[in-house]
Amino acid sequence: MYVLSRPALVLLLMMAIGLGFYPLVGDSYYIRLLTKIMVLGLFAMSLDLLIGFTGLISLGHAAFFGVASYAVAWYIVKAGVTSLLLILPTAIGASAACALVIGWLSIRTAGIYFIMITLAFAQMLHAFFKDQKYWGGTDGFNFYDKPQLVFGDTVLLDLSNRLTLYYFTFAILVSAFVFLIVLLRSPFGRAIQGVKVNEGRMRAMGYNIRHLKLISFIIAGSLAGVAGFLEATRTAYVNPELMSWHMSGNVMIMVILGGMGTLYGPLLGALALTLLGDNISSMWDHWLLIMGAFVIAVVMFLPEGIAGLIEKTANRFKRKPPPKEETEP
């Protein structure tokens, strides 16, 4: 049962404060980079809902990320619309609809099948957007306007402003985090966690497992859609690679590296991996060799991820072992 531990809470507050004030002191390169990290963090968090809480190992999560990005591009490039109020809901809706269809088909299967089928469906979307001239083909689209929130004649929110986008992303990330915490405490949230631990017993107790999994899949897909919206807005560029299986694989690495089933772990995973990529990559041509070895090392020695390490360390420093604190009220 999900509980946000005290060290995690302290860490999160520190991170939130740091992110909130960084733009006052930081330079433009790192503001960009942090925006990217927050977007990826949100994306990874949405996958954690599936992997860490529902027990669904989806290797096609990038599909929803990409579809939402293309929805943004479609509005701006094809329809000439920049209204945030139109774009954001449609982007989320498009992802949710895809998640409904893909989920409905994949959830009929389990285990290795589920992994392969989610992967294959994401590749199908990838192939579709790559094939269609209308959607920009291999190169995708560049666009030059970004979504805006306009009321009357005043622009309330202009996401082409780097700082506005930064804080908008930050606000969405925080809201998504709170939403997931609330969700996981709700009856639905408890039920999906039950499904992860013991699917058979849940069914015997009267739960409709397929519905639970499908709804979880759709929520996760929609959140990935929010991340996709932000990504398209951030880069003003979409491309089929956004939904390639490398994208899905990378975000899975973020979840595991950070620590699945912790919600904040994936954020740490996104941060660690992106900073690592940003720094090592400029030093050595073959940095992916290190990356590969690193991923394998995480699997072998750190399956609980960074978050697991943090909680273990924090527990060690506690004065006395908690009597029954690990248990649920």
Partner: protein, 400 residues
Amino acid sequence: MTFLTTPVSRRRLLAGTAAGAAAVSTFTPTRFAIGQTAKLKIGLMLPYSGTYASLGNNITDAFKLRLAEVGGKLGGREVEFVQLDDESAPPKGKDNAARLVTKDKVDVLVGTVHSGVAMGMAAVAREENVLLVVPNAGAGDITGKMCAPNIFRTSFSNWQPGYACGPAMMKDGKKNVVTMTWNYPAGHEQIGGFKESYTAAGGKVVKEILLDFPKVEFQTYLTEIAALKPDAVFVFFSGDGAVKFIKDYAGAGLKGKIPLYATGFLTDGVLQAVGNDAEGIRNTLHYADSLDNPVNKKFVAAFKAMTKRDADVFAVQGYDTCSLLATGLEAVKGDIKAGATLYSTMRNTIVDSPRGKFTFSASHNPVQDFYMREVRGGRDVVLGVAVKALADPAKGCTMV
């Protein structure tokens, strides 16, 4: 975004070419004294790995060759290169270009080969108001919708070489054709330019075949061409895909039966690899290494001496990029921030290139001659000028 699966940026900080390093600048700075005496930072964002690696290297080496020829300095300033491998990966184009500008603080962006990546660079150049010179990528939008005072191209627009081939094919009596290319914007644009002039001249395109970029499994499509039996085939492929295509075309028994036409990228730089299979292919391009002019002869020899490789159209474009920058920066005495003065000088430059003299259009794309070439005895022999001083229509450009 795929920052994990393929290496991100590979930067190598390289000192400018040694020539002139000891010379002390003597001119009196007019503005931004510090800026001008400091080294000029040029960000070379080009493919140094993957399919286009050899193109990236040729552009880089020819650029440096020209830099050495003008004394190792641009507008009196020493040059420092920041080289970054763009891997021809469009998703990373913007992040990489932004990184060069905001983190490495380069003064000029030069790049790249792949159109998708170049589009990202153009977007960043506009956003950050940095001078960008494109030494290859032919995407129409770079000097079309995306055109800007600070964006120049020294190569071609995809529309140009295709457009040049259409009327010539009609003249050869090829009244219906099948076109074939990769399903990506560069392919669409090259075939589009061809179709425009070819159908205007009365020709008929029987079928347009598109295949996944960068797939090179052509068999299914060659089977289809053989069944359609058109008068000729017009294609756009380049690099390794071109090698494979030429070989498979011959392998499927089509060579000599259905004549093959193409834009010059099909044969440039690949003739050695394909041997006899390329004989008779006719193609249009703005350069041929066999061009008979003194600038070209000197360039071909110097490039060979420097790199031990043969010059090609890409090297020429890299060479001309440096020429253009040299002229522009000379006029403003190295003041890269001079803006309008710098850009209008560059706009009005007549580049004395190995390809022949060329000028720039209002959208900053070369106005240049296109040659009809034919592969004979393993070389592209120039048959004549297909179209003189061809200018890109610059669709969507607000500067025209």
